[in-house]
Symmetry: C2
């Protein structure tokens, strides 16, 4: 066997380039050539690791999702001593495009959605991402004592608010203050027991 290369590592590096291009230049901006240039490799390399463009895009989107989820878990784990009550608002604000990193994520997610509206494979991926996010939010709400019988509705409701706050904020139709006010109102409406 020839040159030993970490296959998956290379694919992830290319996926990073795809995500950057999706965020900065949109879906049309991610061609085989621009991706290769962004990743600093030749077009042949990209073709070597992905047999078709569709596979490349889908891999990048999936990678982006897993990566986001991993970073979230990592951040939650980085504060093991902080009680859930103090942590969960921080977690939810991380899902809003308030800094450059999450702005990029929101842009990628928009490109993802617009593709999912057309491409069934992307649609399945996006639906799965929604399911995972909802499950995660549900677990956070359970952490802070939202009663079991309202967990379904509360998590659906909160995910909708988070999703709906994202785009107006990203486009500048809302200020961060207005956005956070709505988030706080939503969190306040949850039936959280205030035991110390």
């Amino acid at each position: 066997m020839p040159k030993q290369v970490d296959h998956e590592e290379r694919r992830r590096a290319i996926a990073e380039a795809v995500l950057t291009l999706l965020a900065t230049r949109g879906a049309e901006g991610a061609s085989l050539r621009t991706v290769a240039a962004e990743a600093g490799v030749s077009m042949g390399a990209v073709q070597h690791y992905f047999k078709a463009k569709e596979e490349m895009i889908l891999f990048a989107l999936e990678y982006g999702n897993e990566n986001l989820a991993a970073r979230m878990r990592q951040r939650m784990a980085a504060h093991p001593d902080t009680p859930p009550r103090d942590l969960y608002r921080y977690f939810f604000t991380q899902l809003l495009p308030l800094d450059e990193e999450s702005r990029r994520g929101a842009r990628v997610w928009m490109a993802f959605l617009s593709r999912a509206a057309i491409d069934p494979a992307a649609q399945r991926l996006a639906a799965e991402a929604y399911t995972n996010l909802t499950a995660f939010v549900r677990a956070r709400l359970a952490d802070v004592g939202v009663p079991a019988e309202s967990l379904d509705l509360a998590s659906h409701h909160l995910v909708a608010v988070l999703e709906g706050l994202r785009y107006p904020l990203l486009l500048g139709a809302r200020t961060p203050e207005e956005t956070l006010a709505v988030l706080d109102a939503q969190l306040a409406s949850l039936s959280i027991p205030d035991d110390r």
Copy 2:
């Protein structure tokens, strides 16, 4: 002067074709040629009415927004005898992709958003559309007696919920029942006086 043609009418007809293509084949599916074919005219005709593709797309998006707003107003006006209390939930459900027409609208709006993330002109248009929608929702909430001091927050909150319910429903990650349950929960949380 030559053949008398309703200039604006032709542009709107082409805009309809653009919206159809955006909804069915996404942003990449709306090329000058496909638009011409969808509208049943030659490519030269499209070029005659729009000097550049960007102008065509932006016009179509603007037209789509105005059209949606007009249809909404028309539907509200079609029931002049119904009290606001009974009308406003109907109005809000119309903004969710529950039937084919509003599903098309939601798909167009997604294409709009993904373009707005890249193109500043589209961004301005989209931000304006959010502002208009929020103002309209605010007026509806005022109609049903939401107190003045909570109108800002309530309208922002409700718009976020509507926006956030749209995409998971469109992608099949939520059922219509789950979606409407969240909407009803949001409406129930408003401080509406229940006079008689």
